[in-house]
Structures are given as C-alpha cells and as structure tokens.
C-alpha cells in the first residue's frame, strides 16, 4: 500500500470507522445517544474533510487504477461531507421526537456518505457500481426507518424496487461497454475508444494463453464496423441507470412519493447528496470514458434536460403538499443541471458543480424548516399549514423565504448565480433553444415558490393552528448556516466558483 493508496482511502476509512462507532451507540441510553452520535459523526466528518484536504498533495490513480485522486473527486467528497454534517446535526432532535433508531440512523448516513465518496472518486465501473449500491442501500433503509408509518415503509419499497430495477439496467450497460472495450476501467475505456486499441491491460492477460493476441485482434476487427451501435446501447442503458438516480424524466416517478414518505431530514439528504453523487458518476463516466462519442449522447441529454425541467416544474404547480412540491422542484433543478451538462464544456461542468453546492444549502435549509413546521409525526406538511406563518413565527418564515427566493433564482442568492452560470455555459455552447426553455421554466417555477410565500405572509392563519414551537438547537444551527451560506454564495460566489472551476478543469477536454 503506497502513500497514494492511503491518501485515497483515508476519508472513506474514517467515515466507515465513525459509522461503526455510531452503530455501537445503540447500547447507550436513548437520552444521551442522540447528542453523542451527532457529536461523534460530526467529529468523524470533520476528520474525513481534513483527510480530503490532505489529499491535495497527491494526484494519480490509486489501488491499481481503481480509485482516482483528483480535484474533481475532492470537490464532490467535500460536498457530501458537508451535506452529511448538516443533515446529521439537523436530525438530532428529529430522531428523538419520532422515536427512530438513533445509532443506526447515523451509521447508515455515514455509510451512505462513504459510498458516495467512493462513487465520486472511482475510476472503475465496478467501484462506481459498489459505491452506488452502498449509498442506495443505505438510502432505502433510511427512507423506511419510520417503520410504523405505512407511508415510510411503502416509499422505501418503491424506492428500493425501482432503484434495483434501474441498477440492473446500469449493469447491463456496463456489461455491453465491457464487451466493446474489454475493460471496466474508465481510463482504459477512454484509451480504447479514442485509440481503437483493445483495452485488455497486459497484466490482465493470462500469460499461458496464446489465443489472447488473436482474440484481441479479432475483437478489434470485428468491432470496426458495428461498434457504434453496441456502444450506443451501452450508453443508453448506463444512462437509464444513472438518470433514475438523478430523477430525470422519464425516470422520475419515484421521487415525489419517496420524498413524501421519507423522514424529512432523509429527504433533505436524498435531494442533494445522492443526486450529486450520481452526477459525479455521470460526468466522470461520460466525460472521461465516453467522451469520444459525445455526439451520440449529447442529443439524449438535450431531450432529457428539456423534459426534466418542464415536467418537474409543471407537476410542481399542482402540488399542495410541501414535501411533494420540493420533490418536483428537485426534479426541475436536476433538469437545469442537465442543461449545463448538455453543453459538454468545462464551463458547463463548472456550472453544475457550483449549482450543486448552492442547491445543497438552499434545499437542505428548506427541508429542515419543513421538518420543523411539520411537527411530531410529520402531520403539517400541506400548504394550508403554512398560512400566516409569517405572523406566527417570523424568523422561521424569513428563513424559508430566503431559501425559496434562492430556489427561484433571485439575485443576491446562491440560486441566481447557479442559474446564471448554467445558462451562460449553455449559450456559449450554442444551445439557444434549450436556454430559452430553461429561462421560461424558471419563470414558471417562480409561481409555485411564490405561492408558499403568499401563504406565509398574505393568508390568515387557520384558527386551530397551534403556534410553531421553537426550533431545537441543532436544527436552528443548520438552518442558520444554510441561510448564511445561501446568501454568502449569492453575494460572493467567487470562492466556490474557483473551487468548482479547478475541479472541472481536471476533467479531460472533449
């Protein structure tokens, strides 16, 4: 094990160990478990972040080309760690309130983070697959953790069934890609697709096999005419698998149900971290390995981006349940990011990375506010429950306003710059129509976000509405941090933008 290997695995190892320690906290009393677990997991996440930052002095491929140490991976890993920290802190009181298993919750959240870190850094489809499964399995369980709530377990079931269905497609795509190129290593596939060389590394060949050379030749010749079709099928299947994870249309059907049924903090995490992880894998596979056939997949992306934005926004218009509304809004936001992806340029990728960071803060903030307003058992999640919230608890309403304005994309919030960079990147790549549709969509979206503001500030509270209790310390901290970050990025985007740019520039150019 070299120093590079160690640096590459360190964040994941720290996360795993922390998760195991959290798991053992099931033995302590419930009263102390929650604060203990959140402290432990925060410490672990901080240590993992330190390890990620420590990685800066290394670069290259670790563990025999299966893990990549690069700025792109680091950016995503830091994002996942921050999301996990926010969600972990915010769910401290929630778990206690809802009587959920505390130690296991934190453990699974950290495991999921470890899996996502692995996905972001993987240079082998096998490792991407395993990382994807670690994060997905943990999310399935987290969604279903309110076991006595029928909605929770049903949404876990739906998420699980459709998720494993999509994974099977992803795997079939990987198999076909393996059939075309002879390797599952992203860099080897790239070398094959650009250079036409069979990607079987010399080390993989079994020395005693004289057939090997001829087979390699054969496959090369056999494929010259027809490789495109097989490759196209492989791309389409991998696309299906990943599109499910980022809930792109037409694979979005699970999203509203799952977000609605899931515990709200888990929904906050689902809408940010796993989506970002799927984007990381998406970008890495398509830009690194399949860059040579960008002409094929950019059309696919174009259509998906348009559909995802439009369907997400239009469906959100009819929602009265806030969790469902945020779910549809998250679909729409995935659509905006796909617009940037369609441009296939470094600017586009930068825009996605920037957007993911800003989106993480505003969306987690919004979800945590919703969690709090919902109250015990998560009963108050309808739009009517927010009537007059601006008078009942002005601070909470003000915070939610910031998040909503940012989700709309009003200047001085993170959302504005996010959208700005995305549409600029799209315009630069000549995607005029897609940009126009994107801007139109943002305008539609403003309507349903404003609806919430209208409810909060212009409607009279229902008489029976109980006053909203004070926010517990953990959640309050998280919401404050999220609001501050949303505004900060909106006023001074350069720091995050520079990091995103640095990460995106690492990717090979098309």
């Amino acid at each position: 094990m070299t120093a590079l290997d160690l640096a590459a695995i360190l964040p994941i190892a720290i996360l795993t160990i922390t998760a195991i320690i959290c798991m053992m906290m099931g033995t302590v009393r419930r009263e102390t478990a929650a604060s203990l677990c959140s402290t432990i997991s925060l410490t672990g996440l901080a240590a993992a972040s330190a390890a990620v930052i420590y990685q800066r002095s290394y670069s290259g491929l670790a563990f025999v080309d299966t893990l990549s140490v690069d700025p792109f991976a680091r950016y995503f890993q830091l994002l996942f760690l921050v999301v996990a920290a926010l969600v972990g802190l915010a769910s401290r009181e929630y778990l206690w309130r809802e009587g959920m298993a505390i130690g296991e919750y934190y453990a699974l959240m950290l495991f999921a983070t470890a899996g996502m870190c692995l996905m972001a850094a993987a240079n082998d489809l096998m490792v991407i697959f395993i990382g994807l499964e670690i994060s997905s399995l943990s999310s399935y369980i987290l969604v279903g953790m309110r076991r006595n709530d029928a909605a929770s377990s049903e949404s876990a079931l739906k998420y699980f069934l459709l998720g494993s269905f999509a994974t099977a497609f992803f795997l079939y795509g990987v198999a076909l890609l393996f059939g075309v190129s002879g390797s599952t290593k992203l860099t080897a596939i790239r070398a094959f697709l650009y250079g036409g060389q069979n990607a079987i590394p010399a080390s993989a060949a079994l020395g005693k096999n004289p057939v090997l050379e001829t087979v390699a030749m054969q496959s090369q010749f056999g494929f010259t005419g027809s490789m495109d079709l097989l490759l196209g099928a492989a791309i389409a299947l991998i696309f299906v698998g990943l599109a499910f994870k980022i809930s792109a249309v037409p694979f979005q059907a699970w999203t509203p149900d799952v977000y609605q049924g899931a515990p709200a903090p888990v929904a906050a995490m689902l809408s940010t971290a796993p989506k970002a992880a799927a984007f990381a894998a998406f970008i890495r596979i398509f830009m690194v390995s399949l860059g040579a056939s960008a002409a094929q997949w950019s059309h696919l992306l174009w259509a998906t981006a348009l559909l995802t934005m439009t369907v997400g926004n239009l469906a959100a218009l009819w929602q009265s349940n806030l969790k469902r509304l945020l779910a549809y809004s998250s679909i729409a936001h995935a659509g905006y990011m796909l617009v940037a992806f369609t441009s296939c340029s470094t600017d586009g990728i930068t825009a996605i990375l920037f957007y993911l960071a800003g989106y993480a803060f505003m969306n987690i903030g919004a979800f945590i506010v919703v969690t709090h307003v919902a109250g015990p058992g998560e009963r108050l999640t309808e739009l009517d429950d927010y009537a007059g919230l601006g008078f009942r608890s002005p601070a909470l309403a003000a915070l939610l306003t910031i998040f909503m304005l940012s989700l709309i994309g009003i200047p001085l919030t993170a959302g504005f710059f996010g959208k700005f960079y995305i549409f600029r990147a799209a315009l630069d790549s000549g995607l005029l129509w897609l940009t126009i549709f994107g801007v139109l969509n943002s305008a539609i979206a403003a309507y349903y976000y404003l609806q919430i503001l209208v409810a909060m500030y212009m409607k009279q509270p229902i008489d029976s509405a109980a006053p909203v209790a004070d926010m517990p310390a953990g959640a309050r901290t998280v919401v404050t941090v999220c609001a501050a970050a949303t505004l900060l990025i909106g006023i001074q985007p350069s720091a995050v933008l520079r990091m995103a740019e640095y990460a995106a520039q690492w990717l090979p150019q098309l």
Partner: protein, 164 residues
C-alpha cells in the same frame, strides 16, 4: 455434444424464466428462478468459469433464494390476484418489452463477430487466478463490499426486528 448441452441448458433457462412469469404462486416462481440459476451455473461451467458456477449455486441458489423462499413461507403469501392496473400494465408494457427484446437480441447477435465461438476447455477455470487477481488488482472493491454487507446487516435488523 456441447452444442446439445448448450441448447438444453439455454432452453431450460428460458423455460424456467417464462415459468416464473406464468406461475401465479410466488413459491413456484421462486422454484423457477432457482431452475434458471442452476441452468446458468451449468452454462458458466461450459464457459470455463468453474468458480463462478459454484458460487452461483452457493450464493444465489443456496442463500439468496433460500431467503426468498423463507420470506414467502413466513408471510404465507398466497396466489397473486389480477387487478385492473395489471391489465393496463400489460397493454402498455407488452410492446415495450417486445421492443426491448428485439433491440437487445438483434444488436447483440449482429454485432459480435460470428467467428468468436465457445469451445469447451479452451479457457479452463482458474480459481487460483481469480483469487490472485481479486486480491491484487481488485483489492479496493473487495474490501469495500464489506461496507455494503455491513449496511445490509444493519438495514435488515433495523427494518425487520421486533418492536422493543
């Protein structure tokens, strides 16, 4: 001889898979799936993947499917009912599945060189080589799946344990 064996096992696999669809009782579907897995294990043997064939039977047929059968028995699942939605799914899904089948098979059939043939014994099973390759070149995934298994254990306990 090997052609015959291939066709026998391939037909068995497809037959069992169709039976999985046709059977109304989940336990018969489970038995059919075990049949598919056993047929595939035999095909793996013919492809020289001895280790994978054995693991297929041990893990898939012997552990995963036992779990399925166990759960079916535990929940005492009955014959599945046909409801309105399933008729709708049929009308919508059938053309989709046929399309997928046609596309995939024709694509795979046309695009792989026809002179690539499988001769029994051409690529003898190398269990030791798999081990060596697994521990040297794929050490990371091998170590990391342990997290996955841990997640599965925690999940199964959290979701299915009795209320305390």
């Amino acid at each position: 001889m090997y052609e015959i064996l291939f066709f026998v096992f391939a037909a068995a696999a497809v037959g069992f898979a169709i039976n999985l669809l046709v059977q109304r009782h989940p336990i018969y579907s489970a038995i059919s799936l075990i049949g598919v897995m056993a047929s595939l294990a035999s095909l793996y043997l013919m492809l020289g993947a001895e280790f994978i064939a054995a693991v297929q039977v041990i893990v898939y047929a012997g552990a995963i499917m036992v779990l399925f059968v166990f759960v079916i028995m535990l929940l005492n699942a009955g014959v599945e009912e046909r409801t309105n939605r399933s008729r709708m799914a049929k009308q919508l899904g059938a053309p989709l599945v046929v399309l997928l089948l046609g596309l995939l098979t024709s694509l795979v059939y046309r695009n792989f060189p026809p002179d690539a043939a499988v001769r029994f014994g051409d690529f003898p099973g190398q269990t030791a080589d798999i081990g060596r390759r697994l521990y040297i070149y794929y050490m990371l995934p091998f170590e990391v799946v342990s997290i996955l298994i841990l997640v599965a254990i925690v999940g199964a306990v959290v979701l299915a344990k009795k209320e305390t």
